[in-house]
Subunit: 213 residues, 2 copies
C-alpha cells in the first residue's frame, strides 16, 4: 500500500510546495527556484524541502535549483492531481455547505488542480433538492449508487458524530479510497482506505493551550 | 515559552483524551478508565496515551487506571479550558460563517468547554451589521479596539489569502497570542504568538495522494 512507504508528514507538505511552484509558473518570472526560496515561500526549511522531494526522485541540481514548471507537473502527478479527481461531500450542515462552496470556488477557477466536487448528500428531506453551486443535494439513501456510478473514491464526511461511522462504512463498501472526516468522533476504516480526521473543534481546543505563558 | 517544552503532536492529542473522558463523565458509568480503553476510544495506542499524559504529571496508577473525572478536570486546566477563552473570527465568507455557527453551537451547548465566540469581523460593508447567532458582524476597522477591550487573545483568520498577513499582524499588535489561519497562504507571526495553519484545500489535495494503489 502506497501510504506505508512515505510518511504522512512528507505528503502533507507536497501541496504546499505545489502551491508555491504553481504561483511561480503563473507569475512567469522564474524558471528555476532554489530549495532556499521554495522553503521560505512554503514555510519549510530548505533542508526539509530537499529531503521531502528526494523521496520521489532527483528533481534539483546542486547550486542550480529546481525547474519550476517541471517540478510542479511532477508534484501534480505524484499527488494524482494531474487527472480529474471526483469528490463527494456527505452532510450539508453549515460546515458541509462551507466546504462545498469553498471547494467549488477554489477548484473550478483553478485549472491546475483537477479536484471536482461531484456530489452532495444529506439525510434531511428539507435539504434534499437544494441547489449549491452547480449541484443539487441528493438523498444519502443514494450514496452507494452515486459513488459507484460516478466512480467517486474521495469523500468528505461532515455529518453529526452519531452518524459518522455508518457513513464511513457505507462509503468504503461503495469503493471510497480516501476519506476526510470532519465529525468530532473517532471513526475507523479498513487498511486499504486512507482515513484522515480534521476536527475543527480539536484545533480550537488545542489552540487554547498556547494562551498561557 | 510554553510551546517549546512539549511537542505540538502531544498537545494535539489532549483534546481527544478530554473528549473521551468528558463523555465518560456524562455517561456516569465509569469512575476509572484504563489507558487501553482511553486509547481505543481516542484512536491512540495505550502506550502513547501513557507517554503523552506523563508529560503533565502522574495521573494513573498501574493496573488501576485513570480517575475519569479528575483527569478530565486536569486536562481542562492544562488546555486552559477551565476558564472562559474568548475567540474572534475574522473573515465572514462561507468558511467564516460555518466556523462561527459550528463553534457557537458546540461551545454554548457544552458547559465543560469554556471557549466562546466573542466577536466576528468582516471588511465587506454588506456583511457588517449582519446577525450570526447572538453576534453582529463588526467592521474589521474596529479589530484592534475590540480585541483589546474584550481581552480576546485567540483569533481565527478566515480572510482571503491576500489579506491574511495584514490581519495576522494587526491581531498580534492587538495582543493575540494564539491564531488559527485558514487562509491558503503561508503567514508568519512573532515567536511569542502561536500560529497554526489549517488549510482545507491542503487537506483535500494531499488526500488525493492516497487514491493510487
Amino acid at each position: 500500500m502506497r501510504w506505508n512507504k512515505i510518511s504522512d508528514a512528507v505528503v502533507r507538505r507536497l501541496p504546499l510546495y505545489l502551491r508555491v511552484l504553481d504561483q511561480a509558473v503563473r507569475d512567469g518570472d522564474k524558471r528555476l527556484m532554489s530549495s532556499q526560496e521554495l522553503g521560505e515561500r512554503a514555510g519549510v526549511s530548505p533542508a526539509l524541502v530537499r529531503k521531502d522531494l528526494a523521496w520521489f526522485g532527483e528533481f534539483g541540481k546542486q547550486g542550480v535549483g529546481y525547474e519550476v514548471a517541471y517540478l510542479r507537473d511532477e508534484l501534480l502527478r505524484i499527488l494524482n492531481l494531474d487527472k480529474v479527481v471526483n469528490l463527494a461531500i456527505v452532510g450539508m450542515g453549515a460546515l458541509g455547505h462551507a466546504l462545498a462552496r469553498y471547494s467549488m470556488d477554489r477548484y473550478q477557477r483553478d485549472s491546475y488542480y483537477q479536484l471536482r466536487v461531484a456530489a452532495l448528500f444529506d439525510a434531511d428531506p428539507e435539504k434534499i433538492g437544494e441547489q449549491v453551486g452547480n449541484l443539487v443535494i441528493q438523498s444519502v439513501d443514494r450514496l452507494e449508487e452515486v459513488l459507484e456510478r460516478e466512480r467517486i473514491r474521495m469523500v468528505v464526511v461532515a455529518v453529526p458524530a452519531s452518524a459518522a461511522q455508518e457513513i464511513v462504512d457505507r462509503c468504503v463498501r461503495a469503493g471510497a479510497r480516501a476519506i476526510l472526516n470532519f465529525a468530532p468522533v473517532h471513526v475507523t476504516a479498513p487498511e486499504h482506505v486512507y482515513l484522515a480526521h480534521t476536527d475543527l473543534s480539536l484545533e480550537l481546543e488545542r489552540l487554547a493551550y498556547y494562551l498561557e505563558d
